[in-house]
Symmetry: C2
Subunit: 517 residues, 2 copies
Amino acid sequence: MNGAHALIRTLVAAGVDTCFTNPGTSEMHFVAALDDVPEMRAVLGLFEGVVTGAADGYARVADKPAATLLHLGPGLGNGLANLHNARRGNVPVVNIVGDHAIYHERYDAPLQSDIEALASNLNGWVRRSRHTAEVASDAAVAVAAAVGPPGKVATLILPADVSWSDGAEPASPVAAMASTPVAEEAFERVAKVLRSGEQCALLVGGRAVHERGLRAASRVAKATGAKLLCETFPTRLERGAGLPAVERLGYLAEFTQMQLTGVRHLVLIDTKAPVSFFAYPDKPSDLVPADCEVHGLAIGADDVEGALEALADVVAESETPLLQDAGRPDRPTGALNGETIAAAVGALLPEGAIVSDEANTAGLWLNGATAGAPRHDWLTLTGGAIGQGMPVATGAAVAGKGRKVLSLEADGSAMYTLQSLWTQVREGLDVTTVIFNNRSYAILNLELSRVGAGAGGPKAHDMLDISRPDLDFVSLATGMGVPATRATTAEEFTTQLEAALAHDGPNLIEAIIPSGF
Amino acid sequence: MNGAHALIRTLVAAGVDTCFTNPGTSEMHFVAALDDVPEMRAVLGLFEGVVTGAADGYARVADKPAATLLHLGPGLGNGLANLHNARRGNVPVVNIVGDHAIYHERYDAPLQSDIEALASNLNGWVRRSRHTAEVASDAAVAVAAAVGPPGKVATLILPADVSWSDGAEPASPVAAMASTPVAEEAFERVAKVLRSGEQCALLVGGRAVHERGLRAASRVAKATGAKLLCETFPTRLERGAGLPAVERLGYLAEFTQMQLTGVRHLVLIDTKAPVSFFAYPDKPSDLVPADCEVHGLAIGADDVEGALEALADVVAESETPLLQDAGRPDRPTGALNGETIAAAVGALLPEGAIVSDEANTAGLWLNGATAGAPRHDWLTLTGGAIGQGMPVATGAAVAGKGRKVLSLEADGSAMYTLQSLWTQVREGLDVTTVIFNNRSYAILNLELSRVGAGAGGPKAHDMLDISRPDLDFVSLATGMGVPATRATTAEEFTTQLEAALAHDGPNLIEAIIPSGF
């Protein structure tokens, strides 16, 4: 069989049975081979940023990687921002990047470029398959590299002749690396700190914010009086009524500093010490208080959940976790703004929902309003490259198989990867998108003053203003086949959200927020 | 003054007075400094691919670079495909890529990544400004590097603290490199070939397809009996009635081979020997006939136009160029397809128009139908990364100051950078967009069989089919404030195109092509 066929069979055998695609000529043999392997689901995107973001969202929910199919260097370039986000969230992704045939390289045809240079930006795993007989084993290694732990972006560059030539056989899966048990000294060191009587905080992230880790962390916090904090941008936070409650660190440095005030010992579990998202003149980059000591318990390849449970067994043996009570806000009335939208979401969020949150400034109230909603998953903007939310929602819905996905999206961010809506229709995905339309890059209005750049003149403000012309998201959604409505009051929004969530298939609500927040 | 202010003043002093922007927090001081320098025009894009493609289109028409303002690695990543196209067309672009403050790097904040790795993909000029006192001179060198000759993509990485700190002064422009005169031996060698009596062809590209070079090339061809050919994807071809006629090489390798049949000597002027755009099993990559000798006259930093004129003075002293007669097709009637659309464009193209051509498969008839239209510029997809046409049209209109821009765009390609429409409204640009809506990646249907991947099963065909759901470009355009109409017959299209071209400001026609071509 040819290289493409063996590659796809190898991916499927290794558990990678979904491929998000945006192919071109150099990938045509891969495309043709899809019909030989019925187990592989292929999901087309109209733009590579949708493809890579969907692979990210898929893996966050499925807990295993999807593949992407990308067209040479420019295809990888277009997908790079969302791969950056995946990398920052330790999310496994297996990129298949088609390239020219090896013998064609020396002609420097128009689409040729240094794909390895681009892929190296992702600090993951990169290999170029050079022989048809090796492409399958390369793919098996790529999947294992992606899975980690921790999850990585693996990029396999597939020259067209390696793909189309015969002489390949599928390869068996390569066993994923086992996580490393954390040494007893580490628990004991941390246990000693927790029993010191000084104010401690546990900061959990990564895999530690799934139920198993959170239950252990909550027991530790309850038994020792430590604060339980969650990193600012978790990959997938399991939360809601009946799960341990956890306080997320704020995006603004000032807020995080407030949350850490008085903490003398910060214990890190699958996350790094908090730093400012950006640098600001005369403000610290390191957000850990000066008199606070940082202690790492587990990260990276460590057995994070095992470490937390072992720690709990040491310091909180008979303790039970502190679970969130059920409770929803009332249906909101009056003006539509970030606060009333959050209340409506909290009032209506279905059990088992997946929330893709790229609401940015207008989303400040969401955390509080949904804390007591039925159990759900919360996916955030892990790497700061906007345009992630809608693709992630798309991939999450593919993986979620019937779970409702709520895509909460700022207007400015939405315009990076709006093509996601088309894939949602094509695949019949249960995604309800809410566009927070405040007609500005509101976060940047805030940042303009925070960076000390002054009040800003008319040209500066013009760069942050996206109301000229106004974007009409109902028209935009309709143009891609997604039924859409517009809400201008809290009542309208709540009614529309209820109807949208009750319906199968994608839909969209444009929430007009004249106040900006 | 701070680094940002000095940087912008330096750019303006060097002739770079237009900046296409998609900023974030790390660029806020640059944004704030825009108000200090009224000479700098700032044009906002909703996505970086629009920004970089617009800078490309601008430079093609203005014959000088624009700047871009991009947000860290992910911003450059999103802009990379159209920078790849610019690189392939030797189009000068000056990227300003904001980065974290230097002292913030060690905290590895979420948006940090290896920007140099990404920029290295562009084979141009890259520098990171490390000191506020040096940022202005770095910018002056960046502009000179971009200008060339040949034009390059120059990327200046601007850490936030270098931008916001005081202690900078504007720098004087750095003189652009002079082009290198071509040695007399070269003319004589080529002249000898042209007089050999064997079939010769001149293949012109780059700067040689502007009027000055074309007139000289046409004289040479006429005097010596050589064929006059133009590269497949010229950056900006000056053409129409009264200008020298030139035959463009076809995209399909088979077609190029046909055009070169019988040619024993191929003389290259500012272009490379033709190669197949992609590799195909059992088809050659090198499209030069086996018994044809290739002779380079001028390329890169050479004085291309001077070389052509000197050659003409040697072999065609008293010869005049062969100029294209005026002539337009009749207004088409009947079914709407690539052929009738081309006829309508040929019938109506205004004098001085700029055409941005990303019509792909459906555009096969455009070349012939517009050959005798009044003088105009033709901009093509130089690097093969689709999603270039609409951004290029946007930037061309900014540079064109009142010249009509016609953006001919395939449906699949349009969906990569459709956000261009919004910038066109915002800036009141005279762009008429025609979407060739055949509801498929038609080129890939063709390529599937050309690469020998067989007829393709249902899954393969599904990857090339964008009719599920149908895209409604009238709704999509309306959503971004662009007036739009839909045409389903040649008569409707012609009437709509006439009205669109008569109107100021952007508008769009969705041309439905049920036949695919």
